[in-house]
Symmetry: C2
Subunit: 460 residues, 2 copies
């Protein structure tokens, strides 16, 4: 079991007390079970439901907690005797109950009689999901289509998890520290690496060496314009930019999410440097403007405006930056949102659809330049969000006939060809909103072009 | 798409022709879909069904093939236009059909009208499994409880996949070569590593750097007696043995499976060396005896006898080695089987229960010393199997009251205490049965104690 610098039962108790003030039904949360890969005994590494983790603290497989009237009940089976042959000494129900401060602990089968009126949230694992429905004797909606008491529960959980407590922030710092080391290792490995895969191996090797896992499938690519590229076979060429979006998740499930973009050669070309500095200006200005009370959507639009302005200065776009953003012209090159919530999930609580990301009464825009914004809330102290502006030459956008026609008057296509060596750049940091402004939790990893060059060149 | 040194359509055609000679019903095989981890968009890395891979060759997600009367039909949807924004250019149905030599290719929805009388095998992913049942309009049994035409299909597939063709062996060699490099890296990393996790990071980093994945969750532990230990937090101490069971899986899904055990200090103690040499003697003698016509069960019993004999020589066991094996006394220290089939799955075709592992008419023994044997067949040319004898001091066995009483007359418990620094040793190689005997596919990685010490000490 992982060790803590603080008292896990106390933290969990605080979270439960807050939850109970927001919901009157009993709450039952399942951790889920490991899922088989190619045959039953060959499983994917188990990852518990984040809602379970938030209130139960430990990554227990096939465990259930019930919260009602201030009482935490744990439902968890003692490991079978035979398990010790294959898996060694496993924690007993009693030990787990003590670690998490459960008031009562029962075998799983006891749960059958305690499910009345209970609210829950569907887990991702389909086998456990079926058990949830059977035990509660009702169809539980998928977690992004909740209704009734389950929606009440999810709304209450969002209210808690939106603003991270000190224990959560302490855990996030651990994942972030290891992720920073991983990015440094990736930059250093560039001197000798021949492929994207080698950079990825160097980066994820560091995460594994710290006994952590990846919070999401890494993006490590010279085709940064492919936004969710999960292939790693490309060779590295001297003029390439390498975009690495890699984040660790620690033993208790807390995620980091960091992107850096660096030149394979150790030196940005003048065109790469111009765009890099523009993306960095958007990044820095967004962070400078963030504080409690500020609308995250405005931060997104600020990034859009800075990028539009910079692209006008570089002769790639034409017109007034504000008008360009109103017309979504920035989204030709910056088609995603400025960031998202970060916590136990890398897109925190995205299993609930937009319930966490969007303030009550707000919904996704259908605008080209706003539709991919994952967070539209007023910033509050304790929120942890990413800030990740970017510039990309996405084939699917820039060679789309309709988009080309629509924006033909504002894009200097000929000038753009001079920036062919800038396929994709993103700079992403993790930012804690504090009472007075922000703390960049990822500040140990430089963003300035010259510093990035130094880190890559160090090993040359 | 991965590249091939041979013609994929030809290989797949050969496999199909063989299958068609064994089964008269149409055969439909699903690849499956990626499974969500903590929220819908955050998926585990996709792994297709091995049966699909064997006949379709490429790791396609959400694809189906239908084999009937010599015709291969592919059911696969073209990527949606929007996908190019996030995932770049994805292969079209037509391109995939050409790569795998499909005779016809249709959108997935066309499958509805082609499911009559079809045999299939359930995939592991529960969502696709439900679709299989819906489309075939019947309950498909889990793959280890097959009946009727599905059992006929599985039996036919086993007949093919038991003896690997040249293309399969070529792919296995690739995964094995990278796994050998990973083990060498693990040994080298021992000089500076402080934890199991660091050794694991060094080993899996190599696998990732070659753009491969792990065929199974790595075991990298100083508690080698915990047979399926998947924790990596222990510190390395000078007197420890490190047991690493790590194998790569290449882009087309072929698995390697290698275990080495080495001293953290770079030097075996005399007790560790004595047991290591005994396990190695079992390993070497087993491989020397293997050839077509030999019973794998006899190889297991040979290992048991050698280990029993060696433990008698060391004063740990008392009695006649053959009698000790008849009484399962060897299983106190070597409680698992000598190995298993290897192919697209690390325990090849284990999704089918014992259908692949056990010759028709044979079933698992309930004997303590035979019950964990995963393979009980006559060896044939083209089979690839592991040979992995071991010695372990498993708490759950050696401190089990019933077992201690049962074997009290044959164990010298006091002598055993002198071997306290030998917690777990396993030496595992991958062996191809050839017409004339065997080829050890993992031969590039030394097994001799002195060579292992050199590999670890090299970096000291």
């Amino acid at each position: 079991m992982p060790k803590h610098a603080y008292s896990l039962p106390t933290i969990l108790k605080n979270r439960r007390v807050k939850l109970e003030s927001l919901i009157s039904n009993p709450v039952i949360l399942w951790s889920g079970k490991a899922i088989s890969r190619n045959f039953p005994a060959n499983k994917y590494p188990f990852r518990p439901s984040s809602h379970f983790l938030y209130f139960a603290g430990l990554p227990l497989e096939n465990a259930v907690i019930r919260l009602f009237k201030g009482i935490l009940e744990l439902f968890f089976d003692d490991p079978p005797t035979k398990a010790s042959l294959w898996h060694g000494e496993l924690p007993t129900r009693k030990e787990v109950a003590s670690l998490i401060g459960a008031d009562e602990a029962y075998p799983l089968k006891e749960l059958n009689s305690k499910t009345q009126e209970a609210a829950t949230i569907a887990v991702q694992d389909p086998v456990t999901y079926q058990q949830q429905c059977q035990l509660l004797q009702r169809t539980i909606q998928p977690s992004n289509q909740l209704t009734g008491i389950d929606l009440d529960l999810a709304t209450a959980i969002v209210q808690l998890r939106l603003q991270q407590d000190q224990a959560a922030i302490a855990e996030l710092r651990k994942s972030i520290a290891v992720s920073v080391t991983a990015h440094q290792a990736g930059m250093k490995a560039t001197a000798t690496a021949k492929t994207e895969a080698e950079i990825r191996g160097a980066m994820e090797g560091v995460i594994m060496a710290h006994d952590m896992t990846c919070a999401y499938n890494s993006i490590v690519t010279v085709q940064g314009e492919v936004l969710h590229n999960e292939q790693y076979h490309n060779a590295l060429k001297s003029g390439d930019l390498l975009l690495a979006d890699v984040g660790a998740e620690n033993a208790l499930g807390w995620a980091a999410d960091i992107t850096r973009t660096w030149p394979v050669s150790g030196k940005f070309s003048s065109t790469q440097r111009a765009i890099y500095d523009l993306v960095l200006a958007a990044h820095d200005n967004c962070i400078a403007q963030m504080q409690p009370g500020v609308e995250y959507r405005e931060i997104h639009l600020l990034a859009a405006r800075i990028i539009a302005e910079g692209l006008v200065d570089l002769g790639i776009l034409r017109g007034n930056p504000t008008d360009l953003v109103d017309r979504d012209a920035h989204a030709l090159f910056f088609p995603h949102g400025i960031g998202h919530l970060l916590g136990l999930d890398v897109h925190d609580m995205e299993d609930l659809g937009d319930l966490a990301g969007y303030e009550t009464g707000r919904t996704r825009s259908d605008r080209f330049g706003l539709g991919y914004l994952r967070l539209d809330r007023t910033l509050r102290s304790g929120m942890v969000v990413t800030i990740e502006p970017g510039f990309y030459q996405v084939r699917g956008i820039l060679h789309n006939h309709d988009l080309r026609s629509k924006y033909d008057d504002v894009v200097n296509w000929e000038r753009l060809t001079q920036f062919a060596d800038v396929r994709g750049i993103r700079i992403e940091d993790d930012v804690l909103i504090t009472d007075s402004g922000t703390e960049v939790l990822t500040a140990d990893l430089p963003t300035a072009a010259a510093d990035i060059e130094d880190l890559v060149m160090d090993q040359k």
